[in-house]
Assembly symmetry: C2
Amino acid sequence: MEMGSDEKVGLMRKGFEWVKKWVKGLVAKLVEVRSKAIALGKDDPRRVIHSLKLGLALTIVSILYYYNPLYANFGVSAMWAVMTVVVVFEFSVGATLRKGLNRTFATLFAGALGAGAHYLAALSGHVGQPIITSIFVFLLACILTFMRFVPSIKAKYDYGMMIGILTFALVSISGIQDDEVVLLFEKRISTIFLGVCVCVLISISISPVWAGQDLHNRIALNIENLAIFLEGYGSVECLKSLQDEQFTQEYKSILKSSGIEETLYNSARWEPGHGCFQFRHPWNQYLKIGALTSQCAFRIDALCRNLSSSNIQVSQKIQTEIQETCMEMSMESGKALRQLVSSIRELTQPTQAQIYTQNSKSAAKRLKTSLRSSHFWEDCDFLTLVPAATVGLLLIDVVECTEKISEAVQELASLAHFKSGKAEPMQIEKEKVQPNIGVSFVTIPISSV
Amino acid sequence: MEMGSDEKVGLMRKGFEWVKKWVKGLVAKLVEVRSKAIALGKDDPRRVIHSLKLGLALTIVSILYYYNPLYANFGVSAMWAVMTVVVVFEFSVGATLRKGLNRTFATLFAGALGAGAHYLAALSGHVGQPIITSIFVFLLACILTFMRFVPSIKAKYDYGMMIGILTFALVSISGIQDDEVVLLFEKRISTIFLGVCVCVLISISISPVWAGQDLHNRIALNIENLAIFLEGYGSVECLKSLQDEQFTQEYKSILKSSGIEETLYNSARWEPGHGCFQFRHPWNQYLKIGALTSQCAFRIDALCRNLSSSNIQVSQKIQTEIQETCMEMSMESGKALRQLVSSIRELTQPTQAQIYTQNSKSAAKRLKTSLRSSHFWEDCDFLTLVPAATVGLLLIDVVECTEKISEAVQELASLAHFKSGKAEPMQIEKEKVQPNIGVSFVTIPISSV
């Protein structure tokens, strides 16, 4: 008996230990989840606001159920308003508008078509009706599903196509059991319209998230990251390895971000004019600039990999003939990009960027010329010269890409009618940026640009 | 009066012309649409089959409406089966399963939760019920919407979260007007389950599209495209410009295809075992290989851009010291990739690839050594040597990347337990490929690899 009691105590202790462990694990998990959620919310507080906005929209449309006179009118069709809010409410105004308009118009057209199909099928009597309806539904479903594979339709009307199939099927099939097809359809379209209106109104009125603004900021940030690298690279002994430097981290975010710009673009084109942007703002130009920035980031990546794999000894000759020119090229194109960033952010014409671009261009030209001159190659340590020259050539590659970015931004500025910027005197700019480097500025008059 | 009649005739003629033009335009447009649709179908005939499958699934679930005994049982809840089919039926089996399982389980859990919330709210009487219900709905909607921003949840359960909000809101709110919440919910979950079953069965039984198989084929094709470039590049005078060659087009498709692999992966992980793949096939290893192939393609792009911008004069010395080594490196790593492709396609261990990788590695080593030897740089035309050396260094960059691809594929082969391949004699392989190039094979015994 003693042993039995001991066993019981042991078992209870084991059980207690297990529960204690489990609770501890649960608490640790909850703390982890909480800290993760806080990090997610701090990273972009608009996420929290979006969640609250959706909750609010849902609460508003649920009044259709709570308030008896409304429910007496709409009945179970009130369900469609709830469904619409949950499905249509997206993070940005543009995405919400795209889904909302797709849903409304697809329901309208496909519903009318479905009602037509129902009356046509009803002519063929009780036996024929299901068969004719089935054929209609099958055909329309096949055609619209196939149309969803067309890339241009997929980008803009994918959701509308799906809702089209759904509505056509529901309206024409349910007509078989219920002859009040039109009445039912009227209620449904009005509740859907109500849901879309609630979504769009809340999305626009309470701290709106504009996909266009996001796209605009994102492009500026990406160019700024390139500028940070190039200015940083231009301010150090740029033929040495760069592993520990802070500025090499910035451009890497661009390598991973392809696809996001396209998503933002697909939403931005649905947005009305907002802030500084007109309705038909040239959003597709942003895609072009985005492609160029990611190209530039990949070239910078190639440059960095080359630097980290080769160990360059900088002799006096390389110092004066390559390194300084490289530093100037890098610094000047960095400044050009910096100008582009501020011109994008302030929506002004990027007039000053051309000067810096021209400076970096002429530095690149000088580098090319010295690499080509036989004078340069006489009595020199070739083993260190080749890696240094390679870095120079790769940097020329990068600089060429920044020129293309500059052109694309200028095109954007003229397409979107950016206002002409105030002509700051060049001298001030020069003194502001990195005064510790003795780089000779090759200033070229604007008229020759 | 004469004039009036003339005018009328003129007007009619104009009208007729306009109609003729319009009809012509319409016909031309229709012909264009038709040819585009045919091209789209020919490009991937599975698209046509998918459209027919969806039509079939929709026709099957619409029997719930046509067949009176069934309709008597389910009533308007039959609508949920139609809705499920339209929304859940996706192109691949994996995507269909993901959406179907998400929808079923989210409806089940959120529905039960919603019913619980309804009974809890009902305790607070007629006045309190809408308020309590609103608070519940608001809270749950906020929490689940916020959870959709967590990347790991978004990748797997995004759709489930949305359906969760929807079902919870519908069940708990509709309880206010209709006390038969549980009965309604039972009907809804059973029709949704029915819809999901129809989708999954048709998706699997009629010419199934497996996302896993697609991912597998895609990775093999991408590596093959790299192999085509490297073999082609190894068979020409590789320091000359490559603009007109056929083989430079293949690798470019890889540059644009990022993101597709991730979509396929997200579907493939839901798929049961199929064909040669087990249920827990290491699909994430494919993502790793995909990232490496696109890296390799970007490096090849850098190489090609460098070649097209520099005009290299090939002297005798460069010919023997750089060009031939480059050709060997390129050809050997091309062959290694070709071996990897056939090992992926046949699901065998890539034993032979190591030999070729080793060959290209030792060629790269030789190139590095000769670029480092002072003997090489004596009395030589430096102006052509630097661009040639740069191309050599960039090619070394490419070759290093192919080694990484080879390692990743070997890891895949061991993770997925590929069967050991038949040991073909090396000699045969050697004679098969490009006998017109006099490349010396540096064969290294496998034991040292």
